[in-house]
Amino acid sequence: MRELGQICLVLSLATAGYAVAASLLGARRLSAGLIQSGRNAVYATTALVLTAGASLIYLLVTDRFDALYVVQNSRAAMPVQYKVSALWGGMEGSLLLWAMILGIYSGVVAYQNRRRHPALMPYVHAVCMVTTGFFVSLMLFSANPFLPLGFTAADGQGMNPLLQNPAMAIHPPNLYLGFVGFTIPFAFAVAALVTGRLDTTWLHSTRRWTIIAWLFLSIGIILGAQWAYVELGWGGFWGWDPVENASLMPWLLATAYLHSVMIEEKKQMLRVWNVLLIIATFAMCIFGTFLTRSGIVSSVHAFANSNLGPMFAIFLALVLAGSLGLVAYRLPELKSEGKLDAVLSRESSFLFNNLVLVVACFAVLWGTMFPVITEAITGTQMTVGPPFFNRVNVPIMLLLLLLTGVGPLIAWRKASLPSLKRAFATPTATGVVTLGTMFYLGVRDFATVMAFALAAFVTATILQEFWRGARARGSATGEAFHRALVSLTWRNKRRYGGYIIHIGIVCMAIGITGSSSFQRETQATLLPGQTVDFAGYRLQMGDLELYDSSGVQVVSAELLVFQDGEPKFRMWPQRHFHPGPEVQPTTEVAIWSNMRHDLYVVLAAWDLDRGSATFKAYLNPLVKWIWIGGLVLVFGTVICMLPDRSAEVGARNY
């Protein structure tokens, strides 16, 4: 099976190379046969990388400890789901996952468009296959997942225990589905630039792909935050780690693109900007992958230092030079005749939104790379941590929240004062009342007060939009309000799905602000029977145990939690000692969660002889709102992706 995987990788490089050559030659000679042959080579590449991936999964699941990757990343006693997730637990396997996902995307795009866009598709195939070929080359020449060990080991070293978590098992594939997904709109953009077909065809063709990639990237980021929250044991969910930042940066750019593309679709403006945004988004995905594998920044998430950095840097440079060169070449044709009827218009608000999102991305990139830049210029080693990112990004995010509310209230083309007054009255009043309430409750921190006031403002704008739309529809069609609400959303999925996404963002903003502004913590060392009072709870220490669970040594302390003098629930914060070359303890946090707050308890230290344990307890307000916001965001995005009848009819006409 190891040999099969290796052969598939070699063959996939050959078929990807052939697909590039046949597609480009076919496009140049207008040869349908060559283009068809190139497309078939794309299908073959997809099949080959998927077979290679299946081979590695088979090796992992069947404990083939004669394969180096299996020994380094798996262990016989590991549950089967973690053996499968070991596919992306190591660097070599994660590159294979990249290639597999890109193979699937490329195959689906090739099949979906086999009778559409004959001029664009050969170049789309070429870009997809160049990228696939690059990742396959990395595996074949530098990080091969199918290398033999040379002998058969008795057992493997196992996967990093921190990664043995349900959220972590599905977080990387989602992240990769997002990262890799942006290859498709990028490929269409390059194809449009090469062919000079710069109308909105490529935008329409990639809209759903872009939203899919954005959705998966969003899910990946949220799952990553949840993993950090339950697994790392420091009471938070986002540490501004370089790898976390690497996933946030393309998300910010893609969000900007998803908004600005609407202006191009409606008014054929911002064509250069949109092409640049999608190029930057794709480049940022490659940069993020490079960041985790180059060793240039230190991160708890990064793979071990490797020699892949220079290869990624060269590929990134080629991507940027090639695509920006094409933009420069097509600049005269890309320049659109921009017309704006009024400064105060939806178009302007989207421009603001784009500027702020791009600045947010830059601020994150700048903070992440500043230690590298400082060392290169001054020779001084330094670190940039959460205080910097929070101080720079909190104001930017507050402005974004403001724009989330303002955007929908300003009409396309031109807004008049009467319509603005009407649109802003209720939301502004809601925001001001919230601001006053926060002040009355004694909250004085500027960012906290503003975040809650803006969250109220945005929620009011969205509810007002739904209310007015449903009421207008109800009076026009005679439908009851609730039916009008559903049919309104159904008839304009993109717009109202977008509003639902905004509600999700507001929920997350509430959760992030609440948990970071009002977090309380305490630390206590207790003997069995002793208690500590904390944030309205009384925690009573029970038994301290040490036991074996499937080869993992578990230290577990029981806490009985009282509220208002009544026993309410029990918690078992734990430490796990996983077997391996180095015994690595992991924190298993105990969390009691409701809509108001999470009681989050960490077992910090213990003394088995005395039976005592030291706990760190945190009260994290409103954290659940973050996860609920994530679900709402996913729901809204799915609504946006559902086909509109008009879009289907339009698609047939292309």
Partner: protein, 190 residues
């Protein structure tokens, strides 16, 4: 009369927009200043949130939130120095001497570090100027006699769809359509 009222209204909208844009861009540097740690936190709490743990497993996390045993030791040292009445700068220097430069996780407000804080603001300002240029260019390019947007509305999103006015139609038709669209824009909030 009508034209004058319209001109007054446009002037007020432009003034409102200019003030909004000014407030918008002034908000970021102002907020960054306001987002500094509140003054009611203790010196130990403030430094614990500003200085990093150097345990090696969480290289960028403030010692107050690291949660590892190593951070507990650093926090105990911090508390001792605070109790000795030292200043922020003195405590930072002591901790850097003992635990290494990794303690400093926030760029300073002077020297080369100032670049870390200034660059995002500079980009924002440059972007704002560029955007103002683009908007003004677009405004100059807009044809006041044009009936409405010429782009095709997708998915029924826009209340302002193609009015159907063609260049061949006469000025009276154009004015009529324009007044209809203006009226619709005033009453519809898309």
């Amino acid at each position: 009369m009508n034209t004058r009222m319209r001109s007054d209204q446009s002037g007020r909208v432009a003034l409102f927009a200019a003030l909004a844009v000014l407030a918008f861009f002034a908000a970021i540097p102002a907020s960054m200043w306001l987002a500094r740690p509140p003054s009611d936190v203790t010196q130990a709490e403030r430094l614990g949130a500003e200085l990093g743990c150097t345990c090696g497993t969480c290289p960028h996390r403030p010692m107050a939130t690291c949660g590892c045993g190593f951070a507990d030791g650093m926090l105990a040292r911090l508390d001792a120095e605070v109790a000795a009445g030292r200043t922020d700068a003195e405590i930072t220097a002591i901790l850097v001497a003992e635990y290494g430069n990794g303690v400093k996780i926030t760029p300073e407000g002077s020297g080369f570090d100032l670049l870390a804080w200034a660059a995002p603001i500079v980009l924002l300002m440059v972007g704002a100027v560029a955007m103002a240029g683009v908007i003004s260019h677009w405004r100059a390019g807009s044809d006041p006699a044009a009936p409405a947007v010429t782009g095709k509305a997708t998915g029924g999103e826009s209340a302002v769809s193609d009015t159907g006015a063609s260049p061949s139609r006469d000025a009276t038709d154009s004015d009529r359509y324009r007044s209809i669209v203006e009226r619709e824009l005033d009453t519809f909030d898309d």
